[in-house]
């Protein structure tokens, strides 16, 4: 009797069939890979978008501020599911003249959506740094750009790590919505498995556990990074 059959027998009182997952393991492994790729790329690009949108929202000029506000409000005020559908089936085909790959659509959708949330994290982070820091930097003759780069952003970034980590976890979970456009991620693997076997419990419990493990690992990485970057609060000489 194989290992899988043994487990199956052990769980027979629950009527769970692990062999189904084993048969479709390639689908789930690919799913883990794409879930991570999609959400990491999405948040990575979202960070850049968020930095610019967040700074633009703090700009004095209305011409810079207004587009940033429109972008942020649209992507925070409409469901991600709707954004994914619009992008994949309407916006991108119109722009490209052909159907985009679900992975490309997925990354763009997650990037645009997380960029809007991340911009608010940046804005709040920048604004949380006391005005005196900017004044001290400027009074030393540093330009506004230098003061941002050397004084404000490094401090703001430390404060942004917990909310950014949180955003990464949110995006990782929300990437499951991309199964609607058949992006080859985890929820898609579960959907295909259920369709082929007519068994809902095994595939969805499996991906639930996988999502949980990944988010727990991410959360602990974030708190470790947070502790590592905490400066000067350990000793008072």
């Amino acid at each position: 009797m194989s290992f899988v059959e043994q487990i199956n027998q052990g769980l027979s009182w629950l009527d769970l069939r692990v062999d189904i997952i084993w048969d479709y393991r390639d689908l789930f492994i690919r799913g883990i890979y794409y879930t991570i790729i999609l959400s990491m790329s999405g948040v990575g690009i979202g960070l850049v978008l968020g930095l610019f949108a967040g700074m633009a929202k703090l700009a004095r000029s209305l011409w810079i501020r207004w587009p940033a506000i429109a972008y942020i409000e649209f992507f925070r005020g409409t469901p991600l599911f709707v954004q994914i559908m619009l992008l994949h089936f309407a916006v991108l085909p119109t722009l490209l003249g052909r159907s985009p790959s679900p992975v490309i659509s997925g990354i763009i959708a997650l990037a645009l959506n997380s960029g809007a949330y991340i911009s608010e994290i940046f804005r709040a982070g920048i604004q949380s740094i006391a005005r005196g820091q900017m004044e001290a930097a400027r009074s030393l003759g540093l330009s506004h750009g230098m003061a941002m780069r050397y004084i404000i952003l490094p401090q703001a970034f430390r404060r942004m790590i917990p909310p950014l980590g949180n955003e990464l976890i949110v995006v990782l979970k929300d990437s499951s919505l991309l199964s609607a456009i058949a992006a080859p991620e985890l929820a898609n693997a579960a959907r295909i498995t259920m369709g082929a076997t007519s068994r809902p419990w095994e595939p969805y419990m499996t991906i639930a556990v996988i999502y949980l493990v990944i988010t727990l690992i991410l959360a602990s990485l974030v708190s470790r990074l947070e502790r590592k970057l905490d400066y000067g609060r350990h000793s008072r000489s």
């Binding site: 820091q133 001290a136 009074s139 400066y231 000067g232 008072r236």
Partner: protein, 269 residues
């Protein structure tokens, strides 16, 4: 020439009042303020301020809170704007739209009530950042300079510490050293001891006294009347956005002429 200047400067220690009046007669002012008005909305916080600061002079500005003294100081290095009048710093008119703000500011060191050290940098990094980025000094040169300044403010052993690990008095001494690291032509102090515990006031004032003795041009907004009396070449009393009275510390503290000055001094002395 240099030697005579040094000797003359030594004289300043012993007889401040006469040497000051001598300086004032001969030299051009480093900072000129000409009928400056400033409004916050409709509220007029500066109502036509005229004032000159001469090289090597220590000008002390006193007055009740809300009198506009900090606002005036902040106008000098463009942290605040003004609506009428003119301020000239080191020959540059601050109302000139083509003015390079950063060029004016790098010549004026500013010390804040809340220290405003950069908490993510060590003491040494706080001191060398602007000299390297703005003055384009080499890192080695900036570090050498910074160590001399830390020695001067008595904090040589703290160069690797983060600001959070220092007491308030130590932080303010670092802040003074940081401003000095830019080799400014004048130093502006905005209530430098007001946020300090009483036992730390002296160490900061001592550093400021040393600076004054070395001939640094200083504009000091303070509530420390002892410092004003001892170190100030000239004292200005401000109230409700106006300069009410000015003169030598002996005159202003000894024989105040204006009723408002008398009332204020009777409360603080």
């Amino acid at each position: 020439m240099v030697d005579t200047a040094a000797v003359n400067r030594t004289d300043v220690y012993t007889d401040t009042s006469t040497s000051t009046s001598g300086k004032m007669a001969k030299t051009e002012p480093l900072i000129s303020v000409r009928s400056v008005h400033k409004f916050f909305g409709t509220h007029e916080v500066l109502k036509g301020i005229d004032l000159e600061v001469y090289p090597q002079e220590v000008l002390v500005i006193i007055g009740p809170s809300g009198s506009g003294k900090s606002t005036l100081l902040r106008c000098l290095n463009l942290l605040e704007t003004y609506q009428k009048g003119e301020i000239i710093v080191d020959g540059k008119r601050l109302s000139d739209p083509k003015i390079q703000e950063d060029e004016v500011r790098r010549e004026l060191g500013m010390v804040f009530q809340q220290f405003n050290l950069f908490p993510h940098m060590t003491v040494l990094e706080n001191l060398i950042l602007a000299p390297i980025k703005v003055r384009k000094k080499s890192r080695e040169e900036a570090i050498k300079d910074a160590r001399l300044l830390l020695q001067k403010v008595g904090l040589s052993d703290k160069e690797g510490a983060y600001p959070d690990a220092l007491s308030g008095g130590q932080q303010q001494r670092v802040a003074i050293a940081r401003a000095l690291a830019m080799r400014p032509k004048a130093m502006l102090f905005d209530e430098p001891t007001s946020a300090l515990d009483p036992e730390m006031v002296k160490e900061v004032l001592d550093v400021m006294k040393d600076l004054a003795r070395e001939g640094m041009t200083m504009v000091v907004v303070t509530h420390e009347m002892g410092f004003a009396r001892e170190v100030g070449d000239r004292v200005i009393f401000m109230d409700q956005g106006e300069i009410v009275e000015q003169g030598t510390p002996q005159d202003v503290f000894g024989q105040p002429k204006n009723e408002r000055t008398k009332a204020f001094l009777s409360k603080v002395l």
